[in-house]
Symmetry: D2
């Protein structure tokens, strides 16, 4: 399936900018966005049939190859947001997921992406990881009707 033809469903992860997420400039400390991206990815896969507890029990992991983010507007304590996630592209054993962080008033705060491997610990948690083939069945779970 080529990328152009693929239409991903959208995952939604709700979050709030907490006091602890901000730095002395009074706005969000930027790695917070990447922490949210990570949580949003787990939540999106959970909603698509891969709950985090099952993933962990079966040794499945999604290690990162790369990540990037543009910071469009500053976020402040008390802002309610949602991270909207979509699969941009499936590789053989990896995928690209994009995230948009949108404040409750509709303002886009940040957008970015993660490149991840679909992998498995070879011998239980903490052991070396190896990429796994991404099956058509897996992809189908993220495809919009």
């Amino acid at each position: 399936m080529d990328a152009a033809a693929f239409h991903s469903i959208t995952g939604v992860f709700r979050c709030e900018v907490h006091w602890s997420d901000c730095d002395p400039a009074g706005i969000i400390f930027y790695p917070t966005y990447f922490r949210w991206f990570d949580s949003a990815t787990w939540a999106f896969f959970g909603a698509a049939g891969f709950p985090i507890k099952t993933m962990i029990e079966t040794g499945m992991v999604m290690p990162l190859v790369g990540a990037d983010c543009e910071f469009v507007a500053p976020a402040e304590p008390g802002d309610h947001c949602e991270v909207r996630s979509r699969i941009l592209r499936w590789g053989t054993k990896s995928f690209v997921i994009t995230h948009e962080v949108v404040r409750a008033d509709g303002t886009l705060l940040a957008r970015g992406s993660e490149r991840r491997v679909w992998g498995r610990h070879l011998a239980g948690p903490g052991s070396p990881m190896k990429g796994q083939l991404i099956t058509e069945e897996l992809k189908a779970r993220f495809r919009s009707a």
Copy 2:
């Protein structure tokens, strides 16, 4: 008002144990609880009429004097929890707030407390802070009927 006679309302802060909150042992990294305590305190005061955005605009702060926590049962990724907060005691310019972290199945995961000053930045954010008198009006906002 003596502590024995004071009955605080309970604040409820919902949270989830994320992948990012856990360490190589596979369970929650314990400072996460204190981060939740902090967010729960802000949320509780917000619900009682002191929203975090107003607090920040007016230079109000709640710096810590001490904090403690007992870890009762391990929390794992995907656990849904709530932090239940109560004011244990009001001082002249400080207060003690207690927190219980309870998992969705009713299991108590952790319980602890924070001792905080009710303070104000003397000259805007980042400037020195000074304790403020805790008024009867403030206390009344946390009193159960």
Copy 3:
């Protein structure tokens, strides 16, 4: 060995207050101290003959039973500190470790303690943990001459 007769060596963990460790009040966000306590404990055990990599390879863990901290003076970005750690008490399968955070100018910033179990994963990382007997040999590594 009773607690009174035990004289622990002191571990020293150097750290700096980073921009990322501080919150919109311009001072350290308090869970940072607990993060340092954790790193200081690992460093102390490493110096005493239990390097973190060996601990992990052999499934050894030190899960928390409780933790507390008093915040004595505010810490700001750029402050250079050290955490001075000592074993306060050995139990059969647990121990209490105390930490003092001292700024380069000698000011005490915070002091606290952690109560931890000396444990082991029963079946590799991520599996259930069980307390292990604390041997005389282990204690001897933390005893001052």
Copy 4:
């Protein structure tokens, strides 16, 4: 000055992978790299004559426009690393700084960049920020002989 002709000095920020920096897969949780990038940037500017305490006192800030990172090799607890930072490009009021994270054995773990504004709070910490002109004097502090 064009980018090609500019040769930046290299900043070095030493760090260690702590237990708290890792996740249930047993390796570094990736936003840790961005936290290090941030600390490395502050350290680099500090070494070049802009200590963080002075920056804060004078209301100087370096808000982010974007950030990215490639994860080349996994980092584990106990790994000693350094972040090597260079100014890639100066804009009128912004700059690009690149970072390489290298383990003590010489292995490249990650490399990335931050795009930041050279800015100032208009009215003290927490107030709105505005980009400032990057002077030749500022650039000269990062130029190799």
